[in-house]
C-alpha cells in the first residue's frame, strides 16, 4: 500500500475542491468514489440550438424521454422534476443506500460529480451573518470563495446584488439575458429607487458558467441545452475539475468503490470500501480522511463507523416554492430564441418582519424542459391546455423561492442496522413547525406582490414538498460548542482525530439560498488547512 496523505470520499462539489487544495499544496490524494455515469444520452445530443434540434433530430426521443422512459415522470411535481435522462444518473439506485421517510424526499447520489453533475449552477456566497453560526466570517472564507470562483469560472456581478453577494476578482461578464428577463430587469432599473427602498434587489444571476473561455472551457454557446448536455463545457460540473486533478501526479481516482466505514488508530485512518466491479472488500489507509459523500451519504458512513445506530442527528433542506408568472409586458413583442437554460435573474429582498433575514429567489424562463410536463400539471383538458400553454410559454417565467431552514427536534435522521446482511437504512423525519410555514407564506406573498410592478403576473404557487430541492445539510454542524457529533472550526468531526467533513453536513443552518458555492469554499478551506499540517502520511 503506498503512503497516501489524504483519502477523499466522493467526487461532488465538496470533494473536488478539497482534493484540489490538497493536491495544489503538494499532498497525495486518493479519491474513492462510486462513480455512476450517464448511460450515453448526453453524447447523443447534437451540437445545435434546442429549437433546431427539436425540429430535425430523429433520435431525440432517446435523450428526451430515455430508453426506459425515465424522462416521463407521471404524477405531481416532486423531487427531480427538472432531471432529464442525461442527468438521471445523479440519483443513485435507491436500493443501494436506502432512505426511509414518510414525508421527506431524501435521495443519495453515487454519480461521478455527485449531485453537482446536475447542479443549477447558481452561485450564492453566504454573507458574514450567514457564516457566523459556523464560527466563520467572510474574511476567513473570502480567499476560498475566490479560489473556487477561479477554478469553476463565475459570470455575473457589477449590479445591485454585489452588496449581498461578495464578488470575486476572477468573475467574468454576466451572460446575456433572454427576452423575458431583459424586460423584467429593465422594468426594475426604471423603478429601482422605490424598489430598493422597499428592500427588493434584482440582478443577473451569478452563475458557474463561463461567459468567455476559461481553463479550456466555454464560452456559453446559448443553445438552451444545459438540462440535456454540456456544450463547450461552459457550465461547471465537478467532473471537469476531477479531470484536471486526474492529470496531477499526486492524485489517484478509484472509481466503483462503495465506501462503508472508517476506523482510526493513533496515526492513520483506514477506510473500508467494497469494489462494486470485483465484489471484493478493500481497505485504504491514509494520514487523514475527508468525507464529502453528500450530507446523507456522509451521515450514513459516520454513524456506521462510530456504531451510533439509532442516534438522531439533525437534517436540513431549504424548502422551496415555485411560482409560474406571465411577463405580460412582453406579449406581442419579439422573443429571442438565443438563450441559456439556467437562472436568468436573482432576487434578494429584506424580509418584511424586521428580522434582517434575506429572502432569495431566482427566475428562469421555461422552454427546454418540454411542454408535456406542464400540460400534465394543468387541470384543463390536454388539448386546450396544450394550446394555452404554447401561447403562454414565450412569456412564461418561473420564480423559484428558497426558504431558510433551521434545526428543530422534528428534523432528524438516524441509521437503522439491517439485520439481514442488506444495506443499513437511513430514516428521516422532517416536519416544519407552524411558525416556519407562516414565515414562508409571508415571504412568498411579499415577493408575489412586487412582481406585478415588474410586468409579471404570478398565476400559481407550487410546493414540490420537503427535501425536493436536494439542499441536504446540517447533520454534523460546525461551530462553537456542539457535541462530539459536530465539527470543530477546521471541519474535523470532533468524535474523531483525523476525519474532516467537506459537504453540506457542516452547516448548522441554511439561509434562504443555495449552499453549493459556500460548501465548495468550505471544502477548499478544509483541504488548505489539512495540507498545512506537518504530519499526514
Amino acid at each position: 500500500m503506498s503512503a497516501t496523505d489524504v483519502i477523499v470520499v466522493g467526487s461532488g462539489p465538496g470533494a473536488v475542491h478539497a482534493a484540489a487544495a490538497l493536491v495544489g499544496a503538494g499532498r497525495s490524494v486518493v479519491m474513492l468514489d462510486y462513480g455512476d455515469v450517464d448511460r450515453g444520452y448526453a453524447s447523443c445530443v447534437p451540437r445545435k440550438d434546442f429549437l433546431e434540434l427539436r425540429r430535425t433530430d430523429p433520435g431525440q426521443h432517446r435523450y428526451l424521454l430515455g430508453d426506459d422512459f425515465e424522462g416521463v415522470r407521471l404524477g405531481n411535481v416532486r423531487m427531480g422534476v427538472q432531471l432529464t435522462p442525461p442527468r438521471a444518473h445523479v440519483f443513485a439506485d435507491p436500493t443501494i443506500d436506502p432512505v426511509v421517510s414518510r414525508n421527506f424526499q431524501g435521495a443519495a447520489s453515487l454519480a461521478r460529480g455527485g449531485f453537482g453533475a446536475a447542479w443549477s449552477a447558481v452561485v450564492y456566497p453566504f454573507s458574514d451573518d450567514e457564516l457566523r453560526p459556523m464560527g466563520l466570517d467572510l474574511d476567513t472564507l473570502r480567499p476560498h470563495f475566490d479560489a473556487v470562483a477561479e477554478r469553476i469560472g463565475v459570470s455575473g456581478g457589477g449590479d445591485d446584488l454585489d452588496r449581498f453577494l461578495v464578488p470575486s476578482p476572477s468573475m467574468m461578464p454576466p451572460l446575456a439575458l433572454d427576452s423575458n428577463a431583459e424586460r423584467i430587469y429593465r422594468s426594475y432599473l426604471r423603478k429601482r429607487e422605490r424598489l430598493t427602498g422597499a428592500g427588493f434587489f434584482l440582478g443577473p444571476a451569478r452563475l458557474a458558467v463561463a461567459s468567455r473561455e476559461h481553463r479550456g472551457r466555454g464560452p456559453e454557446p446559448y443553445f438552451d441545452l444545459a438540462y440535456w448536455s454540456d456544450p463547450n463545457r461552459a457550465v461547471w460540473r465537478p467532473q471537469w475539475t476531477l479531470e484536471e486533478l486526474e492529470r496531477e501526479r499526486g492524485f489517484r481516482y478509484l472509481g466503483r468503490r462503495h465506501v462503508q466505514r472508517f476506523e482510526e488508530d493513533g496515526r492513520r485512518v483506514r477506510v473500508h470500501a467494497r469494489n462494486v466491479e470485483s465484489a471484493e472488500n478493500e481497505t485504504h489507509e491514509a494520514g487523514a480522511l475527508v468525507l464529502a459523500a453528500g450530507t446523507l451519504g456522509t451521515a450514513r458512513i459516520v454513524l456506521r463507523s462510530l456504531g451510533r445506530y439509532g442516534v438522531r442527528v439533525p437534517v436540513l433542506c431549504n424548502p422551496y416554492t415555485y411560482a409560474p408568472m406571465l411577463t405580460w409586458t412582453g406579449i406581442g413583442r419579439e422573443v429571442r430564441d438565443r438563450r441559456h437554460s439556467l437562472a436568468q435573474l436573482a432576487v434578494i429582498a429584506r424580509a418584511r418582519d424586521g428580522s434582517g433575514r434575506l429572502v432569495q429567489a431566482q427566475i428562469i424562463s421555461y422552454r427546454s424542459l418540454l411542454t408535456f410536463k406542464l400540460v400534465q400539471q394543468s387541470r384543463l383538458a390536454h388539448r386546450e391546455s396544450l394550446a394555452i400553454l404554447r401561447t403562454l410559454m414565450p412569456y412564461l417565467v418561473i420564480l423559484g423561492i428558497h426558504h431558510e431552514d433551521r434545526p428543530t427536534p422534528r428534523k432528524a435522521a438516524w441509521l437503522e442496522r439491517d439485520g439481514t446482511g442488506g444495506s443499513d437504512r437511513l430514516h428521516i423525519e422532517y416536519e416544519a413547525d407552524e411558525a416556519e410555514l407562516r414565515q414562508q407564506r409571508a415571504d412568498v406573498r411579499f415577493l408575489l406582490r412586487i412582481f406585478p410592478r415588474l410586468g409579471c403576473l404570478p398565476f400559481l404557487v407550487l410546493h414540490p414538498g420537503d427535501g425536493a430541492n436536494i439542499h441536504y445539510a446540517g447533520s454534523f454542524p460546525m461551530g462553537p460548542g456542539g457535541g462530539e457529533l459536530g465539527c470543530d472550526g477546521d471541519g474535523r468531526l470532533r468524535a474523531t482525530g483525523k476525519v474532516y467533513l467537506a459537504d453540506g453536513s457542516v452547516f448548522p443552518q441554511l439561509p434562504a439560498k443555495g449552499l453549493t458555492f459556500t460548501l465548495m469554499a468550505h471544502a477548499n478551506r478544509v483541504g488548505t488547512l489539512l495540507a498545512r499540517r506537518q504530519v499526514l502520511s
Binding site: L74, V335, T371, V375, S385, I388
Partner: protein, 133 residues
C-alpha cells in the same frame, strides 16, 4: 391491430389532430408497458373502456378527469402519448412555444378557456356513467 395500438391512434388524433404513424404507435406501446403496466383502479379501467367504445367522448371525459382524477389512468395515458409526440420531429412544432400578437394571444386564451369550460361541464355530466364498472 391491438387495442393498445388503436388507443395510441385515438389519443394522438385527439392531441394533434393527425394520424401518428407506426413509429409513434410503437413508442407509445413501449412507454405504456414501462409506465402503466400496473393494474389500475377498476373505475379508471371502466372509464378508459368507455372512451374506447365511444371515442367522441374522450375530450369531455378527460376534461372532467382534469378536475376529479388529474393523475388517473386516462390522463396518464394522454401524458405518455403527449411525451412521445413531443419527442418526434414531425410533431415537435405542435408542442413548441407559439408567439402571437396581443390580439391573437387574448383570442387564443379566451377561445381555449371557453372550450375547456364547456368540455368540463359536459364531461362532468358524463363522468359518473363512464366510470361505472
Amino acid at each position: 391491430m391491438t387495442d393498445l395500438e388503436d388507443e395510441a391512434r385515438l389519443l394522438a388524433r385527439y392531441l394533434v389532430g393527425r394520424d401518428p404513424g407506426g413509429e409513434v404507435v410503437e413508442r407509445y406501446t413501449r412507454g405504456h408497458a414501462r409506465l402503466l403496466a400496473r393494474p389500475a383502479d377498476s373505475a379508471d379501467e371502466a372509464l378508459v373502456g368507455f372512451v374506447r367504445r365511444h371515442p367522441a367522448t374522450l375530450g369531455l371525459l378527460e376534461a372532467a378527469c382534469g378536475v376529479l382524477r388529474p393523475h388517473g389512468l386516462l390522463r396518464r395515458k394522454l401524458t405518455v402519448m403527449a411525451a412521445v409526440l413531443e419527442a418526434t420531429p414531425d410533431f415537435a412544432d405542435e408542442f413548441l412555444p407559439r408567439e402571437s400578437g396581443r390580439m391573437g394571444f387574448a383570442a387564443t386564451i379566451a377561445l381555449h378557456s371557453v372550450r375547456a369550460a364547456l368540455k368540463l361541464v359536459l364531461g362532468l355530466a358524463l363522468y359518473p356513467v363512464a366510470r361505472r364498472p
